[in-house]
Symmetry: D2
């Protein structure tokens, strides 16, 4: 950490800072510039209260050098996290395809989708059983019954199951049916839920909140990691900006930035960012081209009849074509190298 003092600071203010640092066993390095005095701080700053420090007389601002997350940082695992769930490798050399309907609606629907995506090489079946909807009057999902349907469909085609959990109350029951817990954008800073999920011994897909910076996102991931669950994946799904031509602005630049800052695998959900099916294939291709470790794509056997987010779900034939393109592109895209 670096402490930047105000212009023309008094010596007594500098002495005060030095004294505070020394009582915390920290070593101050003082640089007196032409306009400012700057104090570098060396040592274990865990017990130091930075707010306290920033309010001392003469202090202009603090510049943190290390980030507030530790386990999520790239330096914790410079080679990148690679782990298997069942026999599917996440974070490895091949992107993992996750697909399925926005919401599970019926046995027929979920089996139809499971077959299509399995034929295309997808390894994980997605589908909402608990739906966070902006209006309380919209379809809220089938709950446990939906999870059971997904489990059966996934088992029939050798797929894993991922589904969003929106409350601690549902965790234990849901854990019987799913392989990966998804945290949605609207709960991405529901820290109580994150901590609870970190304890149930299931891998986690953490979506980005619509207004969360990459640093805050990694702070949320740290809540899960610090409970001992290291199989955490991140999923970019668009942020809120002034542009209204689609639902959210897919932050394609977040992919290479995350590859520098964290060792966690990075997924992209082009369907929620787009909000309509026509935009999904170009965004999906872009995500892979930018280095994503996998995609979550919404696929529905008959989108016009879907009970939620009908407009953004791909028809099976569109998904087949998208996967064909992506598999072709992949051989030309250099896997992002380890950062040191």
């Amino acid at each position: 950490m670096i402490i930047i003092m105000k212009p023309k600071v008094r010596q007594s203010d500098v002495d005060n800072i030095v004294s505070i640092l020394e009582t915390h066993d920290l070593v101050p390095h003082i640089s007196e510039g032409t306009f400012r005095t700057i104090i570098g701080v060396v040592g274990d700053k865990t017990k130091l209260d930075t707010d306290h420090l920033s309010l001392q007389p003469g202090v202009e601002r603090l510049v943190p050098i290390l980030s507030s997350y530790k386990l999520a940082g790239r330096s914790f695992k410079p080679e990148g996290s690679v782990f298997s769930i069942g026999d599917v490798e996440f974070g490895g050399s091949s992107p993992v395809q996750i697909a399925g309907p926005c919401a599970v609606e019926s046995y027929d629907q979920i089996f139809t989708v499971a077959k299509v995506i399995s034929d295309c090489g997808a390894k994980v079946l997605r589908g909402g059983a608990y739906k966070p909807r902006t209006s309380p009057y919209s379809f809220q999902g089938l709950g446990v019954a939906g999870l059971q349907m997904m489990r059966e469909a996934a088992d029939a085609f050798g797929l894993l199951v991922i589904s969003e959990i929106t409350s601690e109350y549902d965790l234990d029951e849901a854990a019987k049916y799913i392989d990966i817990v998804q945290v949605g954008a609207r709960n991405a800073q529901n820290f109580r839920l994150l901590a609870a999920i970190g304890k149930i011994k299931l891998p986690v897909m953490l979506k980005r909140g619509m207004a969360m910076s990459i640093e805050e996102w990694l702070g949320s991931a740290e809540y899960i990691l610090s409970e001992g669950e290291y199989r955490v994946m991140l999923c970019e799904r668009g942020i809120s900006t002034f542009e209204t031509a689609y639902r959210s602005t897919l932050d394609i630049g977040a992919i290479p930035v995350l590859k520098e800052k964290t060792h966690l695998p990075v997924f992209v959900d082009p369907s929620h960012a787009a909000g309509r099916a026509a935009l999904v294939p170009p965004l999906a291709r872009a995500a892979i081209a930018a280095g994503a470790d996998g995609l979550l794509v919404e696929v529905h056997p008959n989108p016009p009849e879907a009970k939620s987010d009908a407009a953004q779900q791909l028809r099976p034939e569109a998904y087949v074509e998208l996967m064909r393109q992506i598999n072709g592109m992949l051989q030309y895209i250099e896997k992002v190298k380890n950062h040191d």
Copy 2:
């Protein structure tokens, strides 16, 4: 609702839409313009699936005329909501002052603050017992012990208690000590929590999420209202923008817009928007000048020693001065009139 058809639409596509509307007992009004055919829809659209409709051939887009919230809309209560909690009137002719530390830390701290704010005319004591922090390694609050301290301090000075609840698990216990439940920005779209809070028969202060549009915010309020709890207040606390000179951008324009769209009382929290104490008084005055029904201001007897958000808490003497200014200004500010 209005359905805008694509240019040069086929008659069969228009007939299809008419047929769908008629099977839902809706009356179509067709306007054939020079470039577009437009279909107005009259009748009870509750059972109509708009996603289904938007995917029909020939449809370009739908334009909703009514908002998705009902109970939160201004037309539900055109004169505005005014209600009392204890003997404090919310939404009435005088703004309500809510103040207190970011987090409850000790009996001494909370009693000192309670006295100061009570002397200044504040009616509600705020203080965090469950703190949502972006890092899992930061101070997380005293929990129930903190609520107990607040209750005692509030009772000693005739104040109400407001505190943030971050999990359904804490609701029943917390309800013993608090008068108003606060929902924080990070849980503002945690719909499960909102629905649970709507059932416990306590008034609610709903903060705005950092990326939530005003329409989405009112959708969240509707989750609480639709459970039967009508004593809901909204609290603007800043949104995420590109500007980094303060913590969040206080959306001052949201105040008059909310006064048009909803009957719910509108509060402002200048402390979290600002992120540092020097900016709090100008933002607080601006909020009152723009027509806010009250303020939440962070006050701490000794900010540099605070365990969280030290930088943004006002010293008691600064709060006293701020209240003096606001009370003077108030007589010149026209109360926003009812909208019809």
Copy 3:
């Protein structure tokens, strides 16, 4: 256009609107819904003042059906614009590669870059001669001398020249040396400059302003088109958002949206969005994967010695590798189809 009246509107207010429309030879179509009366407007609305209309008693809001740009709209040229400059085809089946240094600095520098990019298949040499810098104390470019150097280097390798013009004063002189005029993000709503550029008979590359919606961008393009210059290309270069991990947020979703809304070719500048070289290749690949008609990439023979934006310029060998990847990917990316 559709006029949505307020709830419980008076008949006299509806009559007033009808009367205004009829004096403009427009035909009103009235739908009386359960809650609202809605008036569809059919006819030539060119002479109608919509602000005037929106202020009439009883009017809640207007919903435009057609966009405010005409020549830039996709329906003006549904098959998409394809045009040649020299022997280079823009908007056609192959993306056009534009590359070069941020600023022209010397003969050596520009000849070195021109050779490298030409060897990689780039067809257009870019380089700044008039640099818009956020600080008046930064390097401002070589002016006409820089344009002369670019012209010579381009001619030596059979390339076209593109360069940014920041003032009407420079247009005539600059037109002697360049093949394509670039309008930078900071001048994207400098309407006087746009109109002047539209008159000089040179094709134009119009960058997007950092806070411009896609609709506003097309409005700016219309300023050029309406002067008779139809060879206009758009260049996405990142928008301002709350994220600070890179310079601007590349709006990858703008590419497919523009392909729907306009017939103009769409380019992407990953270098300015990224702000540092390590992020350029993933963003460049993503742009091509999303359907861009070409790229502007900054390449410098020795980035650490560059006089401006050193951090974001690729070394020649990195550009060579990027072009190799992109050319491989391209065969798998379906060209975005015409929209009808």
Copy 4:
């Protein structure tokens, strides 16, 4: 400036940095922390190329300590800029009221408004003669004829004239009629125009661009100041965010932040931020309450007949009432103190 080196940096990389600094007569101060080596730089950094430095091996990032603007910074004039134009004091103890129509349309119109605002105590008449419009088909202003009308109306009531200039070409002619040059949001980074304006010996009102950070805004101001024109005023008029309930998000927090960072007077234009008249009075009151040095408010004798931005212009009687409220409030608002 501080240079933060990468973790486990090699001694040779540190030596390289030290060597570069020393050849520029700068003194390095090295702090070796547990995880990072940090180098403080003392001396005159004017000739140092920071991009060059940031690309050296082992460098993670640079932290600037001083801002890139000098003349615009608060420390250049810690007591704040106060200057007179005619007999009107700007930046002094009383806010200056500027008002008038969006666009000058006729003698009648501008005389009517001039009288109303003069009666209310306004000192400056505003009105657009060159209108930057997002569509080339909208009313573009009366040009010099409009300026002449403003001059006559202003002289009749003892007012100053402010008007927006959008091109260098118009400067000399316009200077004959106006007292203050306004730079609009869309030209706020048109550096050529800024530099030209800085030379004509007229005071300047510089609006904020919709995506400009406060730091970038002060960079634009520096372009004018560095040409020798010190009578520069800033005008906040709203920024682009995800919220669509009004035209732009008025950044009320910018006011106190600017009071810390710069000595230049700070104005607010609530009319353009709001986009409709009903929101103007609350935003105007908020601006004054937050410490603005004055307001620009759009007033029109008959808004429904206005040729541009009809929806956002106040009727004269609404302006009269707004001024009454503001004058009352003012006596309770502590003038923001000098910052030291």
